[in-house]
């Protein structure tokens, strides 16, 4: 089986009036790759992610997500992806099972399939005893694990993680990366944003956006060597400080 890239962007652009939020970005993400999508606030990351998740039409360029065209196959794009963020996560006052079934339903799983899969998931997470507990009563680490599992319940080819570890304690944060690696090892492509620069070092490759453009792209080791810096944090600061657009 040949493995086509999970994501292809060619000159992808989004303008809002005279403002170019995303300015002709081009990159590919391989299947099963952990791809870190970095950038300062206001650099255009969110706009790019909205285009790649079928929520916003580009105004120029091309992109395919899991082989589907982001212009003409928006619904197929949405069915091929999972999405999780720290801010938009589980419902605190629904139980574990209710959350799983609610999100599974949104992702288009049929009732019988949903029942089967939520049962399997609860067993796999070893949470039978907590299945009927409210999410808010569970430790943060468990909630994160459930949120991630829910985002991949419908077996998407690609999962988008938008600042998944914001505000999370340092041990739970590291456990979350174990989950990411586990999923990537199964062939799922992971597209992740973070403001924790140590986490950038855990990605197979990272890109750094500045003023709507991708200013750096490569493995953390290549990027550090190529720019003569000791860490991705140093590179990020170097590139982001060069941005003219600032943070407005």
């Amino acid at each position: 089986m040949t493995s086509a890239p999970a994501i292809i962007c060619q000159g992808l652009t989004r303008k809002f009036g005279s403002f170019t939020a995303v300015d002709s970005i081009s990159f590919e993400v391989a299947q099963g790759e952990v791809f870190g999508f970095l950038g300062a606030n206001g650099a255009g990351k969110t706009t790019a992610i909205r285009m790649l998740t079928g929520l916003l039409q580009p105004t120029g360029g091309q992109a395919w997500v899991a082989g589907h065209d982001v212009y003409s196959e928006v619904e197929a794009v949405k069915r091929s992806i999972g999405y999780m963020s720290q801010r938009f996560s589980l419902y605190d006052d629904l139980t574990v099972r209710e959350n799983i079934e609610f999100y599974g339903g949104i992702y288009g799983l049929r009732k019988t399939e949903l029942h089967q899969k939520s049962g399997d998931l609860i067993e796999r997470l070893d949470m039978e005893a907590e299945a009927n507990s409210m999410i808010r009563s569970l430790p943060l680490g468990w909630r994160q694990k459930i949120a991630f599992s829910v985002a991949v319940l419908h077996e998407p080819a690609i999962v988008f993680l938008d600042e998944p570890t914001g505000g999370v304690d340092p041990i739970t944060r590291r456990q979350f990366w174990d989950l990411i690696y586990e999923k990537a090892a199964q062939g799922v492509t992971v597209f992740v944003t973070t403001h924790y620069m140590d986490e950038a070092e855990y990605c197979d490759r990272v890109s750094i956006m500045v003023d709507g453009r991708i200013e750096a792209l490569g493995s953390p080791a290549e990027l550090k060597k190529g720019h003569g810096v000791d860490s991705i944090n140093d590179l990020f600061v170097l590139l982001a400080r060069g941005g003219k657009r600032g943070d407005a």
Partner: protein, 310 residues
């Protein structure tokens, strides 16, 4: 002079303790950090100090005023920046600032030097609606609004959450300058690296304060030898270290692994040999000084499935 004095302050919601009794004080002109993850109790503590939530036990004074009895007077002396963006999204940058000045009976003109440093960067966008600003700019506007009535004590609840690494650096530069001008600042953050910018910090987790000290004092408190291990094959190195008989904990730290040895005198060459035998040929092993994040993880109460070596 003590700016904030907290004695056995606690907050319970029914049977749940959002904050166990905590006791500490903050000196005038001190930059004091509360470092801990979401759900640690930081916001609850700030809300009590900001006179927005009543404590269920203990006492607290800010600038000599009691947070319960003297709440009216105290509100004039406090600048409070809540964790969630609390400005008016439909008002412009300038309108928000004017509004916050006017509710405290102040004017922008008379107090402009308080905010020159921060608001200066916002002025080009003064007519933009606050809702249309992005993360770092919103946070600068919120700080300007919290400062415009010349408070004596500033309470900043997670001002840098969701903010990029460069904006975070700039924000802390501003806080340092405000501290140098004599303002007392209490700031909370989930970012461990920001602790180093504070005069003193409290590590907080699950409603408990784990430790209060200077950043250096906290780093010095790490009780075991800590080693950095670098290798091109991080995963194999991690697994091998986890099997090492004297492993206490192994955590990824960016491109390094931080390995804590349970013995007082670990041998670097022994660890290197162990890694070599596990197939890790290029390991660089060096003894390092612990950082705040190392200490925090070490001090975290062990939750099921959260041992370092698991």
């Amino acid at each position: 002079m003590t700016a904030v004095d907290i004695k056995a302050l606690e907050k319970r919601f029914g049977k749940t303790a959002a904050l166990e009794p905590v006791t500490f004080s903050v000196a005038e002109g001190e930059l004091f950090g509360l470092i801990g993850p979401d759900g640690a109790g930081k916001t609850t503590l700030f809300r009590m100090l900001a006179t927005l939530v009543l404590p269920t036990g203990g006492t607290a004074t800010v600038d000599g005023l009691d947070v319960v009895r003297d709440y009216r007077e105290l509100r004039n002396r406090l600048g409070y920046m809540p964790g969630r963006f609390a400005l008016y999204q439909d008002l412009t940058v300038a309108e928000n600032l004017k509004f916050f000045a006017s509710i405290f009976g102040a004017t922008i003109e008379s107090n402009y030097e308080m905010i020159r440093d921060i608001y200066g960067q916002l002025e080009p966008f003064r007519d933009r609606r606050a809702g249309a600003l992005s993360g770092g700019m919103k946070q600068k506007l919120a700080l300007s609004c919290a400062l415009i009535h010349r408070p004596r004590v500033l309470l900043l609840d997670e001002p840098t959450t969701g903010v990029d690494a460069v904006s975070r650096l700039e924000f802390w530069d501003v806080l340092t300058r405000l501290r140098d001008s004599g303002l007392t600042i209490l700031v909370s953050t989930p970012y461990m690296d920001e602790a180093a910018r504070c005069d003193r910090v409290a590590l907080i987790q699950d409603g408990h304060i784990l430790e209060i000290n200077t950043p250096t004092g906290i780093e010095d408190s790490y009780p075991l030898p800590l080693l950095s291990v670098k290798s091109s094959d991080r995963l194999t190195a991690k697994r091998a270290l986890e099997r090492f008989p004297f492993a206490y904990s192994v955590y990824p730290f960016g491109e390094e692994l931080h390995f804590t040895d349970s013995r007082a005198e670990p041998s670097v060459s022994e660890i290197k040999t162990w890694l070599h035998e596990a197939g890790v040929a290029d390991a660089e092993v060096t003894v390092i000084r612990a950082g705040i994040e190392d200490v925090f993880m070490h001090r975290m109460p062990t939750v099921e499935g959260q041992t370092g070596v698991a």
